[in-house]
Subunit: 138 residues, 4 copies
Amino acid sequence: MDYEISIEDETLVAAAQEIIRKRYEWERHHVSAALRTKTGEIFTAVHLEASLPRVTVCAEAMVIGKAISEGYKDFDTIVAVRHPDPDSEDREIKIVSPCGMCRELIADYGRDCKVIIMQEDKLAKTDILELLPMRYSR
Amino acid sequence: MDYEISIEDETLVAAAQEIIRKRYEWERHHVSAALRTKTGEIFTAVHLEASLPRVTVCAEAMVIGKAISEGYKDFDTIVAVRHPDPDSEDREIKIVSPCGMCRELIADYGRDCKVIIMQEDKLAKTDILELLPMRYSR
Amino acid sequence: MDYEISIEDETLVAAAQEIIRKRYEWERHHVSAALRTKTGEIFTAVHLEASLPRVTVCAEAMVIGKAISEGYKDFDTIVAVRHPDPDSEDREIKIVSPCGMCRELIADYGRDCKVIIMQEDKLAKTDILELLPMRYSR
Amino acid sequence: MDYEISIEDETLVAAAQEIIRKRYEWERHHVSAALRTKTGEIFTAVHLEASLPRVTVCAEAMVIGKAISEGYKDFDTIVAVRHPDPDSEDREIKIVSPCGMCRELIADYGRDCKVIIMQEDKLAKTDILELLPMRYSR
């Protein structure tokens, strides 16, 4: 939890914010994620809300799948952001923590991947496995 | 179920086969999907198997998310294929039907999207809603 | 799709309706399911809505798990119903079709299980596999 | 993480072990969970493996749904155990941590629910929210 936030990290957050600003659709896409590979490439994707809640797919899963589909699989850092709802006064696109399900997937595809989150209103960066203490294993 | 299979459809199947041939990894990626938009663009993606079964994400979901993330949302036709397991004698990359969960997602994001499947050992094309008779609705 | 609706089927629908009438909670439980085994036992359960959509579990999955946990595994007929939302004028607890994901699970645990649905405003009963035409298989 | 393990906790673990010993089926049910309500009732359930990985439902979700379906909703402690595979030499039914997805569901339905896990080969008990540091929230 004691990583410095670099310019590259701020760029990653900005990339996540940019795609959801462009692709936002009420009840369809309000979360996006940006992923930086160890070679410095940045991928971005939005989540897909489904009419059946269980069928929804998170943005972190989408961006990992997109990077892998393009042939990249060594992941350095990931971040997700959330667009405000139409009736929200606060118009900021904010960083959100990955859900429990995404923590599992990120850990599967990048055991040493770092995650940008907010901590006491400041950008912070942590190891994915710190977000899954006592991780399930067979 | 009475659509003609066009050259574009065969190209779509070939695109799905090509990406899984390149990205196949045992217990990580064995299914891929290809999606053609109404404007003729083709997107491809692989699925992500997770160490926890429930966390897995299908290739159809991935390719829809990839296309939407790129700004495309009018979908014409989708197809998924499966790479053989390492110990399988049959080395063909075969077309598979979408699972029940993907049928819901495809129908959400493309109510009139068509799906290429195999029928009596031949390529066939059907409407997504034909694969979800008596679809759940509130 | 040409099964007769029996008194036992009507009892099953009533059992599903009864449990959601009792357990209904806004944004937590609005769908329930009832399952009849081949030996005539009836099990009922409600669904669990989660704060994260993907984590939600459907009532059909719950009732199958409950029956199996009690040692029953030969399933004859299943039905799900939905409680109206608080602001809905129509106060009827209506039969709903299983979602694509539940169709897969029901088919896994009862290949010849029948499903009660509504067809043209009348109770109807169909085979689960009729709801999954061209089912995904390896 | 500094809760004492009580006799009631050991009974809960034994209840989880008992149901999976009885209901174990290769590739269908190998994990079970036991849940104790604040009023002292114990519920047990097994998980449902599906032919499609994503459709699988965990034992913790099942046992919460079972308790709620029976009218209980104040949860004190939960534990999950895993039956060994047929080819495993170690025949012990071991305690497993909840997966990231179950952590979310347990936290939704019991914010102060405790979870029994193994820590350095000893039974330990922790708060569910300790297993979801920096939990996702809107």
